[in-house]
Amino acid sequence: MHREFLMGNEAIALGAMAAGVRLVAGYPGTPSTEVLETVAKRNPGNIYVEWSVNEKAAMELAAGAAYSGARAMVTMKQVGLNVASDPLMSLEYVGVKGGLVVMVADDPGPISSQTEQDTRTFAQFAKVPVFDPSSVAEAYEMIQEAFDFSEKYHTPVFFRCTTRVDHGYEAIQVKDAEEYKNVPMEGFVKDSSRWVIFPRLSLKNHGLIEKRNQELTAVLSEYPRNAIQRENGSYGDNAARKGIASHGISYMYALDSLDEENHVRLLKVATPFPFPEELALQFLEGLDEVLCIEELDPVIERALLQICGKHHLNVRIRGKLTGDMAAAGENTMLSVGRAISSFLGLSEESLPKPADIPLPVRPPVLCAGCPHRASFYAVKQAMKGKKTIYCGDIGCYTLGNAMPLDMCDTCLCMGAGINIAQGVGHLDKETKCFAFVGDSTFFAAGLTGVVNAFYNQADMTLVVLDNSTTAMTGHQPHPGTGRTVMGQVVEKVSIEKVLRAIGLTVVETVNPLDFKQARDTIQRVAEEPGVKAVIFRSPCIAVTKPAGHSAVAAEKCVGCKKCIRELGCPALILKDGKAFIDASLCTGCTLCEQICPVGAISGGDKTVASSDCPRTSASLRVGGDRNA
């Protein structure tokens, strides 16, 4: 054992390695990404690791490994779980041989997601047991227990965390590589009565699953991480009439908000499904009311209500359903502290008030020099005066919706933009329909959409924003980059060839930093009938060396503000009525140079900025935006 200062996701990765995991697959998504990256980085050599094209592919890969008796893990964020749900729902019916952990990171807030969905609720729907750690240290231990549990009960299990555990840091004790478990693998053994899901098998297994999950409520009541807290002061006092039930990071907020004088009983729920019913009964015994403090859905609250109903207990259960806790959003030290104070009838400390001066709003924006800015600007200028719809997608380029670009009219989920554009186009012939998709998203979820649009005679322009990486989540490789997460150089999948193979005849590749050519290409291609594509290719500024920087010649600048107003590049600011370029941010992309009406800006070099991506993702991890 040794001590390390680890991010929650790193701890989860090391925990899985200590448990003898042999295959890890996933698709990047905040806040889950670092789990797989850490396994790749600290791989003792016997673990197969890959970024799959999407979560469904990753899940099926892991199923194959687990069928063979190996321990496997898949990683994703909550919305990725939707993509993986098809194989997962069936896999629960079929079961596994080796332990299979589905690591899903939920994002209350949401801080960087489309939804606030709760994997604990998904677990009930999928009938899959779920583990929910409350700290980095607990996550490290608990994931090892999750593997044992999965193997023992032949079921995939969820390991579900939220942002503050995934991205929290703690100094914890971890095993040395020599202490890692070695789980022998039997290999796949043919047995079609077990591995082939026919309706008859499903019916039989459904019954067995329901029975097993019922039994697990008793088993999990004995699981020490589900606990009635007794260690501090009067927390465990049998005479307490009020109780607090919580989970995950909220449990830690609750502990921090309480002191020894508070007369209250605490229930920590580490396995929200199957719910530890016997333990909950002990907890409820003699209480008048319980406050449920949880993030996302009222999972614990509903479970306690159900238990009270089933056992005719006269305990008032409060939480999200009663309006005592917020229905949406992330819990904070403040919100939890306030809820506890009002529940226990304590007086609230007065808090310092926020300043009443208007502070600048800082929404995230495209980076200075981002090639997506140039792409959006080119399309915007090319389509000036025309009726258009710009269907966006999931990635950095969703930020194209920010002012002043305002180039993202819809955004639903990975890959959806393509068929949304198709849908609009079928009914509204007047509108020029565009779909923007990133290179990683194209492979993850765009391909089938293009096939659908092409075959069904859509009229739309597909714009692939190819920056040679998965930028949003920290520069993971994908099939277009020619590199794997383990650093192997492999054959690239060509987006152009794929599009042509589908049948598209108009497929053009342009450097978006060449404004005129980019604009003219769009103008020309948009007039072609059917589905056509423009690939804007220029590497993300984080994977390429900046080409010096541009500067404004103050004596030439007439202060028209066109560069600032139209581009919204964070490197461009107004100083004494003239444009000024912050040299520490500017990458010399030259976009502003090309649009300044009086030629006041110079010094950049778009050809250098757009040269092929020289750095590997491994070196990026050191110097990339993780350290920002």
Partner: protein, 195 residues
Amino acid sequence: MHKNIILCGVGGQGTILASKLMAAAAMSKGFEVKTAETIGMAQRGGSVFSHVRIGEGLKSPMIAPGKADIIIAFEPAEAVRHLPFLKEGGTVVASLAPIFPVSTMIGDSSYPLEEVLQQLKKSVKNLTLIDSEAAAKELGSMKVLNVLLLGAAVRTGELGLELEDIGAALHEKVPARFHELNEKALRYTEGKKLS
């Protein structure tokens, strides 16, 4: 010892590295450390923060409002934004150089710099302001603002850490070719009278 420290700034300014240096320094002295920070999309030009907690028996990695011993702000408006976290009589070390967001540049939000500075002076008793533009000129780089601010924070005595502790962590976490520059930044405020 029990210290709650908040670092705040704008994505890309190096708050995360600064919190890592602090954590490493505290760990080397045998303290428990927990931290939480902004990661991901919000980093791109957005407001970012790191909560750093040092001490025994820590539960949550997040600091409650009114409980921070010190705020280290990489940008003045971000200092004001995080003031509700500061305890009564707490300390603030802040950079004076504003970063104007795109929203301000295109007229969608305002940045009243004078009022921001007034607010800081009015509501913080132990305030250290750093003219980081002058410092950057002297040091020849804006990239070491994080280490410079850490050095200034150490000087206030509110971190419970010594310059040597941070210096040792620097040697471990930063490539050798940057050591000299970072050392200079760390000691930049030494012997200087600060406002």
